[in-house]
Symmetry: C2
Subunit: 256 residues, 2 copies
DNA sequence: CGCGATTTGTGCACGTCTTCACAAGCGCCT
DNA sequence: AGGCGCTTGTGAAGACGTGCACAAATCGCG
């Protein structure tokens, strides 16, 4: 996609790449910018202003500029950011210059959907192994990959350089699987099971719990309902509040 | 599950329930506490200390106490929290006293997994409708629900009181689906498509983007690698840094 | 070559979130 | 009844994140 040859290391040669340690909030937004930039590149944009990129990513433009400034000065005042260059920079910082190998453990309901998803390739990842404990699932082929028994994890890890483990087993099995992943040297885990994992220091865990997302939405739904139920909030008679409900965290307004 | 009769409204009768407006960070953690509490209740605990609940939920105990204090004073000093009472309180605040109806739009790869998942029922939700635009999918039955055409959304919304819409369509269709959901009165949306949705004020959107989660993990993986590559950080010779890698955000240590 | 239009990068103030530390409260035991 | 140990609830301080507003930089044009 990107037609630029990026420097490999950010700026100067000689010294170590030395990742700037970014604020965690910034790290969480960089992937959004990256996705927006890929879209922009695809639609032929060579450069983009902070305003344009910000609205494409659904954030405030000042925040975006501050985020990008942490990577270095890759914009041009009066012009904007070079899309291809920025793509390369963000991919470099996120460690996406190499396609990272992902091992998926638990090929059930959800695991099948993940294994069959072809969208990860374009975002820097390659599902390198499918593992399950159920003998009747072992041997099944999904998307060109054969499901192997979870006990083969050490062998699999030796074959492929597994960078990230994804857990899609029932909650009761998740801790054991996490332990197995850690044992073979995996230091990044994405957990879909609704439970807390305990891992040694140096191992990162991120979790995705859909029920939690729904419950957060439910809270706001509940609050919105209780607000509309009592229109008078406090003592003021009917001052200038059109009928607006507060938004919380949400992305708004796009429009290229 | 809960054997307590909870008050309905938090404390006093007469006045409106009047949800305390909780910090957003607290709202995001309440579901975690709720899940941990359900586990504790199931294993026979009648009460739990902030320390115990905190470690079960993977957070700091001071943070947990402050979070709970926002709901009111439901603990007993010297003793801890009554598990059943706290479950009821949190469920009330999150608006889970009624089972909320969810409409799932896009019954493809991922949508099938969601539709077939039986874990939502225990967390306060009921998948009430499956919708898709593909005529060849319409009519298919999943888990006792028949897939209907997305154009029937207005009728579906009239039949069921849809509280939350879930979008599991390709990104290119997501905005149109969101618009349709908003048009039939849905004010909470969970979006799995990797794109920014534009919605009117008063509508909450939460997104789940798996590739973003992986990319965040990739960043930390990259950083860990670049750190181990250069053991000397700065000028100090070899001061007392065992060999530890920094953890970021992650949950650690459990153990009941 | 200089000027105005434009847009980045950032200092600063503000708000939110986290964590510590401890007084106040509760139950139990003597 | 009184004292003791335990645990909650919270004030205060610090860390972190956000957004405004503007100086500095760059481009294009006359
Ligand atoms: N399906 C969904 O839409 C959905 C939604 C939210 C959360 N989740 C969570 O995702 C996880 C997976 O859900 P699912 O619906 O795919 O469940 P599932 O039961 O369909 O699949 C689980 C798979 O894990 C395998 N497994 C069990 N123990 C294992 C072990 N020790 N090692 C390796 N594999 C093992 C099982 O053989 C099975 O194939 C669950 O924790 C669930 O709560 C799923
Ligand atoms: N499958 C995964 O594991 C996975 C992982 C990450 C992200 N996602 C995202 O989730 C979304 C769904 O993924 P998928 O793999 O299920 O895709 P899919 O192509 O298998 O399914 C999409 C479904 O949406 C339906 N659809 C298309 N346009 C529609 C419209 N206007 N109204 C209603 N339905 C419509 C299609 O008919 C199809 O059934 C995508 O945006 C994808 O990027 C999926």
């Amino acid at each position: 996609m990107s037609q630029h040859r990026h420097p490999g290391a950010p700026g100067r040669a000689g010294a170590v790449p030395a990742l700037p340690d970014l604020p965690e909030a910034t790290v969480a937004r960089l992937p959004e910018y990256l996705r927006a930039l890929h879209n922009l590149a695809e639609s032929g944009h060579e450069t983009v202003s902070s305003e344009g990129l910000a609205s494409a990513a659904g954030v405030n433009s000042a925040k975006l500029r501050k985020d990008l400034s942490h990577l270095g000065s890759y914009g041009t005042r009066g012009v904007g950011y070079d899309v291809a260059l920025l793509v390369d920079q963000i991919e470099y910082v996120l460690g996406l210059t190499q396609r990272r190998a992902v091992a998926l453990v638990g090929v059930g309901n959800l695991g099948h959907a993940l294994a069959g998803y072809d969208g990860f390739a374009g975002r820097g990842f390659r599902i390198a192994a499918l593992l399950d404990a159920d003998p009747s699932r072992v041997g099944e082929e999904i998307n060109g990959l054969v499901v192997r028994h979870v006990d083969e994890l050490p062998r699999v890890a030796a074959e492929e350089a597994i960078a990230i483990g994804v857990i899609a087993t029932p909650a009761r099995a998740a801790q054991a699987v996490a332990d197995q992943l850690v044992a073979v040297g995996v230091t990044s885990i994405l957990n879909f099971a609704p439970c807390v994992l305990s891992v040694p220091e140096g191992v990162d865990v991120r979790k995705v719990d859909l029920a939690i997302e729904l419950q957060i939405l439910s809270f706001h739904e509940h609050r919105k309902a209780s607000l509309t139920a009592l229109p008078a909030t406090g003592g003021s008679a009917l001052t200038a509040l059109p009928g607006g409900l507060a938004v919380t965290d949400t992305q708004e307004a796009i429009g290229t």
